[in-house]
């Protein structure tokens, strides 16, 4: 049968099955049907670990910015605990990754924690998009390019919750709601003067929360060479998450944070261009810029390779933990951790943007020496993590293994929504679909797969980045999610829950070098506090502590001797160090404090 006939037959089959398809209610009609509730808006943030950087006015980033303002204070959608409202009405949301900010003139709410008392809901389901509004933006000052309306208004009912703002550059389509992929506006996606088209790879962003019953005005201040669009979405989401913040533990004012010495230093990615170092024993902390580290590389990942920290994108560097000497590893769009010690993978797309053009990968050591020849990845793959000799790649056909000599494996795990969450020398942890309702661990040698499932105490939901890590010996997998903290046996999938860790927050985990202790910390980028914990796998003791400082993402555990270069005892409060805002931060050197 020729192609024409096959296509016709396939079309007939599909049309036939579609004829049985019920037509759901149109999304625009659902708006009127939903019950009043302004509950789990922050669920989305907990789910996807979006970057919410709420800072006081005055921390505005430099350069072009998009400003979104609320013009009408809320009168009816007041949280149950008014004391959780910010002390003043002037707050600014700063998205450092996309270079825009949102000003909150009145009645806006500040972050996950203040919202929490209003956000505890009984188990229910996500409904549908409540209201979707797309706002066209100014397309520069180019005389050949049309101006589109600068502002738009979103009328929100008391039942609406605005939770996201999406920015993207247009591809020159004649109406502003269809636009193309593949570059961040803050990567200066150019606007073609002839066609008035541009491209952008901006990704979906969460982190703006506006309770309903007000009018939101959206406008932009992009530069004159960027075609752009802001899309805001209001969702009505009900879910079973409990969003109460972790209660601060009764911490001693002095002495070791966890009650006794941990003999570690925790090194957090600060999401911008440096790290936050915490010595829980001495209560000395510091913020320090890492040469070569730049904001914008996601997922947030702090990668230790031997004695180096690997940082950066576009140009990737290895920063010596002890000497702070920085080595350029190569020009690549991103790096991906390798299974081999002392190496990473460099991945470069021909368009120099993730997913744009042909991807080439090669492995380098920490001197920048290429270990493998650059080889094409093939397909539209997105490498996730290294496996022995190759990469685990997310493709349309699920997670496939890629090796330089043989290319992509034929067989994929999961489907196009599958996501890799962890890798060790011989195991790969992945979710067959991004919702992570199920997590699987596959033994790469035997191909045997075990499931970490609800029955064993794991409730899934790993949104928020790489929040699963194998223990140093590979025998256990620590999984932190909005659903809690569990530790799974790598071979059997049998998991046990760590009681006492808050079931509500995006979290990162890191093992001590000996694999006995598991450290866990809440995602606190853009907030002013972090809950951290130390779980002893031998005794089952979990000690939590509350830090009066935020700006923490993925982290690693160092020995104090290794971390000396990251710590400086300045005997000043944490607030004395400049807040992390903007991109780059403008910081230099190191700023120490005691907490």
């Amino acid at each position: 049968m020729d192609v024409d006939a096959r296509l016709r037959r396939a079309a007939l089959e599909l049309q036939s099955s579609l004829a049985e398809e019920p037509v759901p209610n149109a999304a625009h009609r659902l708006r009127r049907r939903w019950p009043a509730a302004v509950l789990s808006a922050a669920v989305a943030l907990a789910l996807v670990g979006g970057v919410a950087a709420l800072t006081r006015s005055g921390n505005a980033p430099t350069g072009a910015a998009t400003t979104i303002t609320s013009t009408a204070p809320a009168t009816t959608a007041t949280p149950s605990n008014p004391s959780t409202l910010p002390p003043d009405d002037s707050l600014t949301y700063t998205n450092t990754h996309h270079g825009f900010e949102v000003t909150y003139p009145a009645g806006w709410y500040r972050a996950q924690e203040p919202l929490a008392p209003a956000l505890t809901s009984p188990p229910q389901e996500v409904q549908e998009v409540l209201s979707l509004a797309t706002f066209p933006l100014r397309i520069g000052q180019r005389s050949k390019c049309p101006e589109v309306p600068l502002t738009a208004l979103l009328d929100m009912t008391a039942n609406d919750v605005l939770i996201s703002v999406v920015l993207g550059a247009g591809d020159g389509e004649p109406w502003p709601s269809t636009f193309g992929p593949d570059s961040f506006p803050d990567r200066e996606a150019p606007l073609d003067a002839e066609t008035c088209s541009g491209r952008s790879d901006l990704t979906y962003r969460y982190g703006v929360f506006v309770l309903g019953d007000r009018q939101v005005q959206v406008f932009t201040a992009f530069g004159d060479n960027v075609a752009a669009e802001v899309e805001t979405e209001a969702w009505h989401i009900l879910d079973s998450f409990t969003l109460a913040p972790a209660p601060p533990s009764a911490e001693p004012a002095t002495g070791p944070l966890f009650g006794d010495d941990s003999d570690v230093v925790l090194l957090f990615d600060d999401g911008i261009d440096g790290v936050l170092a915490i010595d829980p024993d001495t209560r000395i902390g510091s913020r320090r810029v890492i040469p070569g580290q730049v904001a914008g590389d996601q997922p947030y990942r702090l990668t230790r390779v031997g004695d180096k920290l690997v940082v950066g994108w576009s140009t990737v560097y290895a920063d010596d933990i002890i000497s702070d000497e920085s080595t350029r590893l190569g020009n690549a769009t991103i790096y991906v951790p390798a299974a081999e010690p002392d190496r990473v993978w460099l991945v470069k797309w021909s368009g120099d943007r993730i997913g744009q053009g042909t991807a080439t990968a090669w492995q380098v050591d920490m001197s920048g020496q290429a270990i493998t020849e650059p080889s094409e990845l093939g397909a539209d793959g997105y490498p996730q993590l290294g496996v022995p000799g190759g990469l685990a790649v997310r493709t349309e056909d699920g997670i496939r293994l890629w090796y330089p000599a043989t290319g992509l494996s034929d067989v994929g795990f999961g489907d196009s929504l599958a996501v890799v969450v962890g890798a060790s020398e011989d195991h790969l942890a992945y979710c067959p679909s991004t919702d992570c309702a199920e997590m699987r661990i596959i033994n790469l040698t035997t191909q045997e797969t075990v499931i970490v499932s609800d029955e064993t105490g794991f409730s899934g939901r790993l949104f928020g980045g790489p929040s699963a890590r194998f223990s140093p010996d590979g025998s256990r997998l620590a999984i932190a999610s909005a659903g809690g903290l569990v530790i799974a046996n790598t071979d059997t999938g049998s998991a046990r829950r760590v009681d006492g860790w808050p079931v509500d927050r995006s979290t990162y985990v890191a093992w001590s070098a000996d694999g006995r202790r598991l450290y866990v910390a809440t995602y606190s980028y853009g907030t002013t506090n972090t809950t951290i914990g130390r779980y002893d796998t031998a005794t089952g003791d979990l000690v939590t502590a509350w830090l009066p400082l935020g700006g923490a993402l993925d982290f690693i555990v160092l020995e104090p001797a290794e971390a000396a270069g990251y710590l400086q005892d300045d005997d000043q409060p944490p607030g004395a160090c400049p807040a992390v805002a903007g991109m780059p931060s403008g910081r230099t050197g190191i700023c120490g404090f005691r907490f």
Partner: protein, 171 residues
């Protein structure tokens, strides 16, 4: 598309939606493969249409407009990622999964169509699934009939090679 004549009276959007939903969903399914994503893309496309209904509704062919939206969004990495996130939020919190109507599982040829360059895939989907004429495809995609013809020929040739079947010419 902006130049389409505004000659019609405004049809009721709901009846337009009910009439066109399945066809638009089919287009999204073929071009995006995944059922939840296709549903999101379809709803998005109709929402976009709804918001402009006072204008689109008076176009000669509002169906072309919504098809263009969904065809473009289905092949857009960014749009698909957005739709994926939405779909997952819906699924992740327990919404009932319906039986997945996944053409890729039953008909390999759609999988090959999706591997084509985006424009070619759109032309094939509109031509075969939607039964659109060359002129209609050109109207929907905002290009010339000659371009549609070229894309279709190249797509058939590529599909023919990949599927290891007899080549054929023209339609």
């Amino acid at each position: 598309m902006e130049n389409l004549p505004l000659v019609r009276g405004v049809e009721d959007f709901d009846s337009f939606y009910r009439r066109e939903y399945r066809a638009v969903l089919g287009l999204a399914l073929v071009l995006s493969r995944n059922r939840p994503i296709a549903e999101e893309l379809t709803q998005e496309a109709f929402l976009a249409t709804f918001r402009r209904w006072d204008r689109v509704g008076r176009m000669e062919n509002p169906g072309a407009w919504v098809r263009r939206v969904v065809a473009n969004r289905s092949v857009s990495t960014f749009r698909r990622a957005t739709a994926e996130t939405k779909a997952l939020l819906r699924l992740a919190t327990g919404a009932q999964r319906r039986a997945v109507l996944d053409p890729a599982e039953s008909v390999d040829i759609w999988r090959e169509v999706r591997r084509l360059p985006h424009r070619q895939a759109q032309v094939v989907a509109l031509t075969y699934l939607d039964g659109a004429t060359r002129r209609e495809v050109a109207e929907i995609l905002g290009c010339s009939e000659e371009t549609v013809k070229t894309h279709l020929q190249r797509a058939r040739q590529t599909l023919s090679n990949r599927l290891n079947v007899e080549g054929e010419h023209g339609r």
